[in-house]
Amino acid sequence: MKPFGAAAIAAALLFMPLAALSGEDQQPSQPEPPAAGAPAESPVTAEQTNPFLPGEQTIGLSVGLQIPALMYFPTSNTYGSLSQLDLGGSFSFSYQYFIDRGLAIGGNIAGAFNNTIGDLSVFTAPLGFTTSYWWSAMPLEFSVLGEVGGYLSRYNSKGMLGPFAKAGGGAYWRITSGWSVGLQAYFWFVPELHFDPYTDLNALAGYVETSLGAVYHL
């Protein structure tokens, strides 16, 4: 993988553990022992203090940058130069429903474009189902998210569709009771798969989305 692409992916993946550490720092690592003579209390776990309760819902909007991160051709075992694609833009709209404390499922529709070195444009529009985990260290909120689905790409008047996967997360500031805003970073995995007899055209592409997100808590 090209250094730039690897760095971008690494940045996206490193983002979440740091955020998780930040959130966990707010919780005591061990429950305080009860005072002598006081009645014993059940330990307070992080799960129990998670404010995202089952049944809650969020909608999210984002706009950001789309960074080319991977262009690999398995048939020839070669990598395409990422400089063939310019820095692009992305947007998304998502919905999540909490099925357990901190755990949400939902859907996401997005679009992203990157201009090419020859003044064309690659447009990718994924649609997928998401699973995410949220926790809070008020006023900060954090999430990690995985998404699987499909995508449509358009380039040079040609169309392509295929499976799609996305992973990453975000850190948000709860600015009001309803709204949180923050930064997100996701890696988009965009495999270009062809049926026989064109399997030699297969490619694995990837992008890093770094975006500004707004989440509304219903």
Partner: protein
């Protein structure tokens, strides 16, 4: 609150399903299984055009004396070069020793370049050069009658055919000062003076559309065309020419936009998207009735040659769309996956623009497309080059 959440969930779920259905239908209709998207992206060349042709219309290219010459509002030259993704250098030619001039037309006749300059009818001048650097003034034809006070008479285009120089002159305005019908004269250059080509039975009131011959060195057939007239004969002066417009099915009454001789055939292109071959047959090439430009034959793998014909805009309801390619009778719109444009960047080169002219240098296997790129983007250029490798075309690249 809970009710609101349920309503929103239902609305979102339905929206998601609708979006999924829409996306699925779009996907099913738009998936190109045989097209390598990212492999094509990885091979894209960077357009490397120079400012000389940036947003500038080019009308003609020819090779002479080790250089390519290209015509815009000036004449430019560049050392003969193949397709390259690196920037190519073009230098202005100071026609007649002038660094500032307006070029009306330039052609190569045998081993002499003729260049017609002039901002307006009163400043028209004609120069010739046998080396591209030293220029000699050429006497202009004069109107045989008496010009009225408001009438103008001036050359506005040059043609090269059969090793001869031809020039179109326009007589504009009426003798009494009122706006009248313009008349067009086609002149033949004898080497020392000018004679009016006598082929046309009446003086055309529509522009000359070209003069072509079946050979540059030993021509036996000449064709002369104005918008509504088409004559053919064996004399370069048109003295024995006769109308051949009736030889073509339904050509009579149509507007001729260009004539050409290439690959052993004469072609007539009309403003309504039809192409006629000297066999007498016709093909409705453009279903949207875009005017067709000159035809050129270029090498190809199978068959061994194909023809290209550019499109113009009819200024009414259609924009130009690049060019058509293939064999006569089965021409298809050029695209990135078609015959000549083996390049991902077709869409940002000659596609969707008027392709006014082609020039193929058979010695060096280089093909040029002269384009009117408009002024909407500095990424668009007026001249593109493509090189035949012996088995395929390299793809268009800006000059």
């Amino acid at each position: 609150m809970r009710t609101t959440q349920c309503v929103f969930a239902r609305v979102f779920a339905r929206s998601l399903c609708a979006a999924a259905a829409l996306l699925a239908s779009v996907l099913a209709a738009s998936c190109d299984n045989d097209y390598a998207l990212y492999q094509t992206v990885a091979k894209e060349p960077k357009l490397s055009g120079t400012t000389v042709f940036q947003e500038t219309t080019c009308t003609n290219v020819f090779a002479f004396n080790g250089n390519y010459y290209a015509t815009t509002a000036r004449l430019y030259s560049s050392v003969i070069h193949p397709y390259s993704t690196t920037s190519t250098s073009w230098s202005q030619v100071n026609v007649g020793g002038m660094s500032s001039y307006t070029l009306r037309s330039a052609v190569l006749v045998g081993s002499t370049i003729y260049a017609l300059t002039g901002d307006n009818s009163s400043s028209v001048a004609l120069y010739s050069s046998t080396d591209g650097s030293a220029w000699t003034s050429v006497t202009l034809p004069s109107y045989s009658g008496t010009l009225g006070s408001s009438q103008t008479f001036a050359l506005d285009a040059l043609y090269s055919a059969g090793g001869n120089l031809y020039a179109e002159a326009m007589l504009y305005g009426s003798a009494n000062g009122a706006v009248g019908t313009p008349y067009y004269y086609l002149y033949y250059y004898t080497g020392s003076g000018w004679n009016v080509v006598s082929s046309f039975s009446s003086q055309p009131s529509t522009p000359i559309r070209g003069v072509v011959a079946n050979s540059d060195t030993s021509p036996t057939t000449f064709w002369f065309a104005s918008t509504g007239m088409l004559y053919s004969g064996s004399s370069a002066t048109g003295s024995d020419a006769s109308s051949v417009i009736g030889n073509f099915t339904s050509l009579s009454g149509k507007s001729i936009w260009a004539i050409s001789y290439t690959g052993g055939h004469f072609y007539v292109s009309t403003t309504d998207g039809n192409l006629y071959q000297d066999s007498g047959s016709a093909e409705q090439v453009d279903s949207s009735s875009r005017p067709l430009m000159k035809v050129i034959s270029v090498p190809y793998s199978s068959p061994s040659s194909i023809i290209l014909v550019g499109t113009d805009t009819n200024n009414v309801n259609t924009a130009a769309c690049g060019y058509y390619e293939g064999t006569f009778g089965s021409l298809d719109l050029g695209s990135s996956s078609q015959d000549v444009a083996n390049s991902a960047v077709f869409a940002t080169t000659v596609s969707a623009f008027p392709v006014l002219n082609f020039y193929y240098d058979s010695t060096n296997k280089n093909l040029f497309a002269c384009v009117a790129p408009g002024t909407t983007s500095t990424s668009y250029y007026g001249l593109y080059e493509n090189t035949w490798s012996g088995s395929s075309w390299t793809g268009w690249d800006a000059q």
